[in-house]
Structure formats: C-alpha cells, structure tokens
C-alpha cells in the first residue's frame, strides 16, 4: 500500500522524488553569514519603529473628521438646501400617463406623488408610479453607448454610423424598421412623421404587451372610430365585469379605482354600487366584487350572447339587431348555466339587477378577451342604455398597434434581408414577442440594429448598438391621452450619465442638426408654438403660456370629440369568433407591479406582494383547488404546460376561487437580461404564446399539462390558512379582525357592529392628551388593496429591499402591509382586505416591554421608535398583537445581491428627512412623523396652531381610493373623528384594550338579498 502527500507525489512528477531524497529543503543547511544580513540592527529597527509611531501620533488630531460642506458656487435661485422643490411632470411608466409632482431636494428627486391638478389621476399615482423613482438611480442603468461586443463607443460615432446606414438603406430602397410602444404624444407623432419624410423606406411598428386592442378593434368595427369614449364609472349603479380587472391591471386604474370607490363612501351615502364579476382568474376586481361567478374565459362570448338572449328575447328589453340574431337565438341563459355549471337563479337575479337600473348598469369585458366578446358587450350595453354612462370625451389614439400579420411580415422581411436598419425605441421585442414569431433569429439577420433602453435588456444584448436612454425625470415631453387634456414632462435633474432621450436621438438622426442637450426641447416648443398653441386662442404670448403650462404640468383644452356614430352591427359577425375548448385554457394576466417586464429590475416593485396570492419575486401557474387535485399537483410543484406554440415549465400555486381547468399566468416575468435584480425572476410566457396572442387577447388553448416531479419554492408574505381547519376557519371573523356586514343589514340595523362591546379591563391609568392627537381611519369599503400605499411608504420612509430569500424567512420590511383573508369554500371564497400598520396604541404593549425605553409615547399620541436607543431585543415585536414591527436582521442594503442597493447612486433616492436604519434595530410605521414635524414647523412660522388637516401621510397621499384618512382626533370637526365615531368604525382586537389609534370602517358588501326563484 502506498501513501501519498500530494497529487504531484502520487503522479510521480519530476522534482518530487528528487526533493524527497534530501532531508531538508534547499538552502536550509547553508552556513550562517552575518555579512549577508541587513545593515540595520535590531536596536536601530526598534528606534525607527518608535520614531515613526511618534510621528504618526503627532500628525493625528484626536478630533474626528466631520466631512465637508460643499456649497454651490452660484446657487440657483429656487434651491435652498434643506427645502424641497416640487415640479409638475408626467409619468411614463405605463399608458395612463398620469400627471405627477416630483419632490426634489438639492436637485435630486426623492419622492413622487400625483399632480392634484391633473383631471384624470387627480393627485394619485399607482405603486409603479411611486416606485419608478428607484429606476432613476438604478446602478444597472447603461451609462454610455455600446457597440458590437459591448465595446463602449461615443455618441458622435454612433450618430455618424447610423445616419450613414439610414441614408444607404433609404437609397437602396431597403426597409428601416422602427419598433415602438404606443405613442401618446403629439410631438413624438410629428417626429415620427418627419422621420418618415426624411427616410421614405422607414416603417413604424407599434406594440404593447398590456393593451386594450381587442376592445379598440371591436369599437372601430362598430363605429368606425378607434377612439373609445371614457366611462363615467361613478354613475354606474350596477357593474358587471367579465374577466376584467379594472381595479387592478386594466385601463386608467387611478381614475377607475377612484370613481368606483367614490360610490362606496359610507360618509356620503349608503347607496353603494354593486359589482358582479364573472371570471376565471381570481383578480383584484373579483376580490372586491359583491357577487362572483366562475367561468372559463373562452366561454365569455357565449355568456354575453346568453345574456343578450335573456334580456332582449325573453324579457323583451330593447331589440336585438337582426345581424346578431342568429348567434343569440342559438343559446339561452338556461342552457348556458347548465353547460357551465353556473347557478341559474343567481344569474337570473343578475339580469333582474341589470334591468332594474336602466342607464345605470354597465357591462365591461376584460382586455384579455377577444374583440368579438367586446363587440357583443358593446351591443349589450346599448340595450341596457349604458351609453348614458359614456362621457363626451374619448381616449386619443396617435398610433394603432400593428397587427400580428404586420409583425410577421416584418420578421419575414428581416429574414429575407429586406430590412437594413432596425431601431428599437425603448422596446424589448426579443423578450415580449411570442417565441413562435422567431424574432431573435431574424434580428441577427439585420445588418444594423439599434436598441435604446435605460438598462441592458434581451434585445440590446443582441443588437449592434445599445444606446442608453434618459429616465423620464431627465426628459422632455408632452402627452395627450384624453380629449381636452394635455400634460407635459420636464426634466427635474440633469442627466446622471452620458444618456439621451429617444426623441432627441431620432431628431439627431434626421441629420439636419447636431445633438445638443436642448435639441428635443426646442423641437417640442416649436411644435407647440406653430401647431397647437395658435388653435388654443390664448390671450397670452407663447412664452408665458409655455412656462405656465410647464408649471402646472397639465392644461385643459376646449376640444370636442366627435359624437359616437350608430353601430354597424354587421361588423360584429365578421370578427373572428372564439372556440370553446374542452380541455385546459391558459389565461395571461397583466402583471400588477412589473409592467411588461420593464420594472423587473426594481426591487421595491418585485417585493410588493401580489394583491391576492401575496407572492413576491415570482409568477406562477395559478390553478383551482379541484383542478390541482385532478392533476395531482400541489402548490410549489412544477408543471409543464404545452400549447400549440410551445412548452414552458413553471411552479403551481393553488389559488382558491379560480375556475376549473384554467391556468392563469402573469406576464412580464422571466427576464434573462435584466441586471442583477431582475434577471431570472419568474418564468417567461413568450414560449407559450401563439403568434397573434398579444394583439388579440390573452386566452390560449392548452394542449397538454403534466407534472414534472420537480418542486420549486414560491414565497409569499402571507400564507392562507387552511380553509377546512375547524379552528382556523374564519378566524379573522371570529376574532373580529375583519368586521363585515351588508348594505341591507346596515340599513335595517346601523348599530349591528357594536351590539356586543368587549369588556375592557385596564391595568394602566388613562392619559389625557391635550392638543393635537393623531389618528388614522381606513375605510375598508373603499380600499381595493392596490398596494399603492405600500409603495408610497417604501419611498417615503427609506424601506430596504430584502430579497426573496429573506421574505421566505418572514423578514420583509414594509411598514404597511395589506392582509388578505379568505372566507367560505376554497371553490368560491369571499375575500377581505385590510391594510395593517402600526396602530399607535394608547396602551401600547410594545412600550411596556422594551428594556431600554427605545419605544415610547409622544404627547400627540404617536408610538415613537428611537433607533439609536434600540438594542434589538425584539421584545416589542413579540408583544405586538398586530405584528407590525420590523427588525433589521441585516443591513439589508448590504445583504441583497452583493450590496446592490449600496452602490452609487442608490443612496440619492433616500428621503433625507428619515434615518436610514442599520442592522440590529427595530422599526415600524411612524405615522410619517417627519411630515407631522414639517407641518408643525410651518404652522409655527405662520403663527397659527397646527391643524390635523395639515398633515398627509405617504400612504394617504398615495391611496387612489382615498380610503385612508389622517388627522386630529381631538378636533371634533375633523374627518378622522367622524370616522372614529361612526357606527361602522371598529378597532382590530378591541378586547386586548391596547386602544389603537387606527380605526377601520367595516366593509359593507352590497349583496343582492332578494330571494331567488327556484
């Protein structure tokens, strides 16, 4: 047996055997020679050491360096360090184009809220609009143009090369393809036209992943106009939503949520609207509905026809146009209900309800449904006289989306070499287009390809040039999304990097002038001055008009949309009719927080829990419990889904309330080139899509589903407790965490909530609060659980992103969360939502157990958290009945993705008024104490006393439903004290007697309680 000490020895390498022959290493046995040693003696060495230490010590001062203050050389007049400036602009995160107010401190944007003067979003922004600010400071942003093989190039060289390529392509008659998202700007439209004039072979293609193209197609077929009238949601008494998530991901959500919630305002009137949902997915709208039916998406058209039949043929309301008679008469509600196992009596009651409110009932179909359903819905709405709910304004279309045929033809031309230049204007078709189109392969066949984007993406990684773009807050622009409403975008910070805005790049490529910082601003102003301003007939000069318009961010213009033409019903029959499949169906839903994938690199958005499943950092295949049983899968099992287009594996999430044999999947995930945060989060849907899926709805027949045997871990912030566990079932109702009633019950017995008051036993003495005492009320009737409050709080209070792994351990840091509770059966549950934040209890249990008095009460009723005193025992969190305290187990900014959010320039996003917490301290909602203090300071400056209405917390400011009210409970006239005294007001876990200062207003479901026949 041979032993060996190293692999070299084992393999008998040369030198090893030789070495082994000697006892000592070479040189060890040589004679000692003092003359070879260093000339410095030991004593000399020590003397030098001492001397240098003494010198070093003498050079030190004992004072700690306190850094530098670097004032402006020439201070801009409007900037005072320490005081925020607000600029009006327009959000470009999605097609809604909301007006925003950007708060800047010392020239850097730190917070964004809605522009109250904007007539559409009225001072509100969604979660994406709130968190979009992080993208400005994203370390993964491209900082300079790059050419082939990622070599940095100069803009001037790119300009020369591309202009040359464009000229040659134009001369050779080869196509120049420009791929853009839908345009909402008059100036950009003009620019595109100018580009087309200069390069006649240019052709523009428009696409959007989340679009309402089917609805537009239907409307255009019926009326000849692509511009759809705006709906006055607040006037609808009965709304029937067909697979439509109008409170979540579709349409102008800010306006829709506001208008919908305004009809659920118990302070104004108990005359609530009623929402019916017929859907397969468990959408946010479905969660907020009063009645919900489960129906697979491909049966929706038949459902609308059955409704038409019932209403027009059986009930004889309105007349069915002759052209659709044949469709309608072949079905009936009775047959339909039997076929799809829906409760007929309840459906009949729905019809009664629709008819009981003529001119006030509205049917809406979801973006995912095909045009033929939308057309049938428009006809049905006409019969219900829902036209009265259409406003005079319409949306404005500057670019129709390209048909899937047009895209396919383009790809064929790319393959045949007929396309010489392709320019992606902030679009990412390699990721977005259905894989079946084969876009990526075709792109490689185009000699010059350009991708403009803020960060690296799937398309930029295969293009010749990858050009970095400005963030919206660095750009100019104008927007026109609705008749009579124009809004403006202005830069609020100088470009952080060597970037340009895409309009300026195109302008430069027209070849008439060289690039300058103001090139697009001048173009924009000129367009307004010559094309739009004269028609406005303003009594002031253009300069004054322009500055006023930029200051306000939005202008109202006296525009009149053409009246809606009578329907051409024959067109309905011509639309392609969907086929009801027998097997499984895939339904693609819009992502709530990552958009079409463009926000994948935004940690704040990835970590916002899905409003229903509460899953973070992932998408998944949602299945009904029975369907999951049928397939033999449970949550976290991977399944392989096959459609005619392709195959994709993804994790299962068993979602109560879904329709059977339907798989829903959210788009926008599965990016493979999205920087350190977004890469590899979730699964891409592109391989499953048919070529026409994106433009014709989101329903795809599934040809096969099978379990792969692999498991995965989905992470959610709230597990849903077992619905069949006798102890846990409806615990939230038994413990009065959620108190609910119905509108009818409330009408009969307004005091129903407080018949039993819990006995309150106190071991502490009551403290009198003189002066202002802060309190919050949250109206659960209005809250739709959109998460805008959570995102707003994240930005305002410097909440870190912790990452999927830490969320798995329950260490998410959000100060406000929205709890979701299920009641009823797993098949047809009812959902309740409840925003939960620090309740600022008068008898706060956390305060009693803190050993270092780091959490205390203020004289104005705030439960304060003093970070520098906290030693991290976590006793407070353990003693909190509401579980709203968050502990910094790490310095999460350092911990996530190798300190990604510690890199420059992320620090600039922090609110300078709020401490950035480090590892080892507890934190929680402070009721935005920095805003309270600021209001107090202003009140003192103006020599008046502080009023409760002076303060708006970040969550309150963000809430599009205006469900959150904040103010002084000691002021009897304040709105918060009205809520506290309201019959429906209650505190969570009242019996604990912690005396919370957050009051919840019990939700009233507006269920139709008329007895059903049969």
């Amino acid at each position: 047996m041979s032993y060996w000490r190293s692999l070299r020895e084992l393999h008998g390498e040369q030198g090893v055997t030789e070495q082994k022959a000697h006892e000592f290493m070479a040189g060890v046995t040589d004679k000692f020679d003092p003359s070879e040693l260093s000339a410095i003696s030991r004593k000399q060495f020590l003397a030098m050491l001492t001397a240098s230490a003494a010198f070093a010590a003498a050079g030190c001062t004992d004072y700690r360096d306190k850094g530098e203050i670097v004032p402006y050389t020439k201070r801009p007049e409007e900037v005072i360090p320490g005081i925020a400036n607000y600029y009006a602009s327009t959000c470009d995160a999605c097609a809604q184009s909301c007006g925003i107010l950007i708060k800047t401190r010392e020239g850097r944007p730190v917070k964004v809220d809605g522009n109250p003067d904007h007539p559409i979003n009225k001072g509100k922004t969604c979660a994406i609009g709130q968190a979009h600010i992080l993208d400005l400071y994203d370390p993964a942003r491209l900082r300079q143009p790059r050419g082939k093989e990622n070599v940095p190039v100069r803009w001037s060289d790119v300009d020369v090369a591309v202009i040359d390529a464009l000229r040659r392509a134009s001369a050779a008659g080869k196509e120049i393809a420009l791929i853009s998202h839908a345009v909402h700007s008059p100036s950009v439209r003009r620019l595109f036209d100018d580009f087309k004039k200069k390069y006649p072979t240019a052709s523009f293609y428009f696409y959007d992943v989340n679009n309402s193209e089917p609805r537009r197609t239907a409307w255009e077929a019926l009326t000849g106009s692509a511009e759809i009238p705006v709906i006055r949601w607040e006037d609808a008494n009965v709304i029937l939503a067909l697979e439509s998530d109008f409170l979540g991901t579709e349409g102008i959500t800010m306006e829709q949520i506001r208008s919908f919630a305004s009809r659920r305002d118990i302070m104004k009137s108990p005359d609530f609207n009623r929402l019916y949902c017929v859907e397969s997915a468990m959408s946010l709208t479905g969660a907020n509905s009063d009645h919900r039916f489960r129906l697979r998406p491909d049966a929706q058209r038949e459902f609308v026809l059955a409704l038409l039949n019932e209403i027009a043929t059986v009930r004889r309301v309105g007349a069915i146009p002759a052209e659709v008679k044949q469709f309608v008469e072949s079905t009936s509600l009775k047959k339909f209900a039997a076929r799809f196992e829906l409760p007929l009596p309840q459906l009949m009651r729905l019809v009664d309800d629709l008819l009981r409110h003529p001119e006030k009932s509205l049917v809406v179909a979801g973006d995912v449904l095909p045009a033929s359903v939308h057309a049938a819905v428009f006809v049905l709405n006409d019969i219900l006289s829902a036209r009265r709910l259409y406003a005079a304004e319409t949306d404005v279309v500057y670019s129709r989306l390209s048909s899937s045929n047009a895209i396919e033809t383009m790809v064929a031309r790319m393959l045949s070499g007929a396309v010489a230049v392709i320019i992606h204007l902030d679009t990412n078709p390699v990721f977005h287009f259905p894989a079946a189109i084969g876009y990526e392969a075709a792109l490689k066949n185009v000699p010059v390809s350009v991708c403009m984007s803020r960060g690296e993406n799937e398309t930029s990684s295969v293009c010749t040039y990858s050009l970095p773009l400005h963030h919206a807050y660095e750009s100019w622009g104008d927007f026109h999304v609705r008749t009579g409403v124009y809004s403006f975008r202005q830069p609020v910070i100088a470009p952080l990097y060597d970037t340009r805005q895409k309009e300026a790049v195109l302008l430069t490529w027209l070849g008439t002038e060289h690039y300058s910082d103001s090139i697009y601003r001048q173009y924009l102003m000129k367009h307004w001055e010559t094309e739009i301003f004269p028609a406005l007939k303003r009594p002031v000069g253009f300069k004054s008009f322009w500055h006023a318009a930029l200051h306000d961010g939005v202008i109202a213009v006296n525009e009149i949309a053409p009246p809606v033409k009578p329907f051409k019903i024959a067109a309905v029959a011509a639309l392609p009719q969907p086929h009801v499949a027998d097997g499984y169906t895939l339904l693609l839903t819009g992502s709530h927080y990552v958009g079409d994938g463009r926000f994948a690199g935004n940690g704040w958005l990835q970590e916002l829990p899905h409003p229903i499943s509460k899953i973070v950092w992932d998408n998944y295949a949602a299945l009904a419990p029975m369907t999951a049983k049928e397939l033999g899968v449970a949550s976290n099992d991977m399944i392989q889904v096959t459609t005619v287009a392709g195959t994709q594996s993804l994790p299962v999430f068993v979602q109560p309330g879904m329709a059977e044999h339907v798989i829903t999947m959210s788009m926008g995930y599965g990016r493979w080139h999205a920087g350190p945060i977004g890469t590899g989060v979730g699964t891409a849907v592109a391989p499953l899509l048919q070529k026409d899926t994106l433009m014709a709805g989101g329903v795809v027949p599934i040809t096969g589903v099978k379990k792969t045997g692999v498991t995965y871990e989905l992470v959610s912030t709230q597990e849903h407790h077992a619905l069949d566990d006798a102890f846990l079932k409806d615990l939230h109702l038994k413990r009065n965490i959620i108190c609910e009633g119905t509108v009818e019950l409330y009408a009969k017995d307004p005091e129903f909530l407080h018949h039993e008051r819990p006995q309150e036993m106190s071991i502490t003495r009551n403290i009198e609060y003189a002066g202002v005492k802060w309190a919050m009320a949250i109206d659960l009737n209005k809250c739709v659980a959109c998460n805008a409050c959570v995102a707003g709080c994240n930005v305002e209070n410097n909440i870190p992103v912790v990452g999927k792994d830490q969320v798995r351990r329950g260490r998410e840091m959000q100060w406000i969360r929205i709890d979701r509770y299920y009641a009823g059966t797993p098949e047809a549950p009812t959902l309740s939502h409840q925003p939960m934040l620090c309740q600022h209890c008068d008898n706060a249990p956390c305060e009693n157990v803190c050993p270092v008095v780091a959490t205390t009460h203020s004289p104005d009723g705030l439960n304060q958290m003093t970070y520098n005193r906290c030693v991290g025992t976590k006793y407070c969190s353990n003693n909190c009945p509401y579980k709203v305290r968050r502990f910094n187990f790490y310095n999460f900014r350092h911990e996530l993705s190798d300190g990604y959010y510690e890199q420059d320039p992320v620090g600039l996003v922090h609110n300078p008024e709020v401490t950035v917490r480090s590892r080892g301290v507890m934190e929680k909602c402070s009721f935005c104490v920095q805003r309270i203090m600021e209001a107090r300071q202003h009140a003192a400056e103006q020599g008046r006393s502080l009023a409760g209405s002076d303060v708006h917390t970040a969550c309150q400011a963000a809430c599009p439903a205006e469900a959150i009210v904040f103010g002084d409970m000691n002021d009897p006239s304040s709105s918060v004290s009205h809520y506290r005294k309201h019959n429906l007001g209650y505190n969570v876990l009242e019996e604990v007697n912690a005396r919370p200062n957050v009051t919840y207003v019990a939700r009233l479901r507006n269920v139709d309680e008329t007895p059903v026949n049969g």
Binding site: D62, Y63, R64, D65, K66, G67, E68, I69, V70, P71, Y72, T73, K74, R75, I80, P81, G82, I83, T856, H857, S858, P859, L862, Q864, T866, Y867, N868, R869, E913, V914, T915, V916, S926, V929, Q930, M933, Q937, A940, E941
Partner: protein
C-alpha cells in the same frame, strides 16, 4: 507560612495593575471628553476666512451669508457668489481672494470643512430655533471673535435637553420662551 509567588501576585501586583488601569481609563476619559465631543475642533478651511473680521470688526449680520438659517433646517454655507457680492470689487488682489475668484470663475466648488455636526440619527432644524429667538451664540459661541471657527458647545443630547427642559432659565433673555419638546421623535425619526 511562606508567602508564595501567587500570594504576591494576587495581593500586590494585581491591585496595583488594576488601580493603574482604572485610573488611566478615568483620566483619559475625563481629559479626552472635549475632543470626543468635538469641542475645540478648528479645522483648516480651504480659504482662510475670518469670522472675526467679517462678523466682528465689520459687523456683518450672520444671516447675510447664512441665508438658510431662518427658513431651512440647514443654516447653509454661502455660495461663492455671495462672497463675490463684495469681493468682485473689494480686496481683489489678496491671495485668499484670488483663490475665491478662481473658484467662482471656474465653477469648482469649495470644500469647506464641517465644524458642527450632530449624528445622522438626530434631526436638528436651525429655522425653528432661530425664529424663536435663540441666539446663534447659544450653540456656536462667540463666532465673531474667532479667526478660525472652532466648536464651542458639546452638541450632545445632554446639552440639547438642558435647554429644552429649562428654556426659561437658560434663555432668560427671550421673553415668554417655553420649553422645547422632549419626546423622542422631536429629534429622532
């Protein structure tokens, strides 16, 4: 009984060692107190600006340069353009003014060393205090007598609280002054 080495070590060497260690700690702690609080900190500034000359001899009001002090949390160091209000005419040939003019013309910002600083987790607002009539010298000392600005007060929590709790005594010169808030969130948030 013979005394062992251990006895000697425990009874004599150890107490002496402990006494010396504790004494030196106490002395160091006591004498370095000022330095730890930053009292006496007078760093060299990029331009040898004399407050004694400007604020003392010439009597320029603090607020002429520190414009933020009545409106903002920061007193603000003046922009170079404020200096140039006078120095575009006055004493242009002096070496320090040449430095200043250069900075103004080139637009390169001047990195002033910070003298007064409260920790990051403390919120202090100048305007609130100044508008109540608290004199600058209450915290900053007699700046008008300093050629090089140095820190005079400790700026510790104790010094803040001392005023907030005993304002009528400490700030007897201000009629009707009330105590400041002494809840945590007044400064920590």
């Amino acid at each position: 009984m013979k005394k062992s080495l251990l006895d000697y070590t425990l009874k004599i060497r150890l107490p002496i060692f402990l006494f010396v260690a504790v004494l030196s700690f106490i002395l160091t702690y006591f004498f370095s107190r000022a330095e730890r609080d930053g009292v006496g900190y007078a760093p060299q500034q990029p331009i040898a600006f004399s407050h004694k000359l400007h604020a003392g001899t010439m009597g320029i009001d603090c607020k002429y340069c520190h414009t933020g002090v009545t409106v903002s949390r920061h007193a603000t160091i003046p922009a170079v353009s404020v200096c140039m209000n006078c120095h575009s005419v006055v004493r242009k040939a002096k070496p320090e003014i040449i430095k200043l003019t250069k900075a103004f013309e080139s637009g390169v910002a001047l990195p002033w060393k910070r003298v007064h600083k409260v920790p990051e987790y403390v919120y202090f607002n100048h305007s609130v205090h100044v508008n109540k009539g608290v004199p600058c010298a209450q915290c900053h000392g007699k700046v008008e007598a300093m050629d090089v600005v140095s820190q005079v007060s400790e700026l510790t929590m104790a010094s803040c609280i001392n005023c907030h709790r005993n304002a009528p005594q400490v700030l007897a010169g201000i009629p009707g002054i009330k105590n400041g808030p002494d809840n945590c969130a007044a400064c920590h948030r």
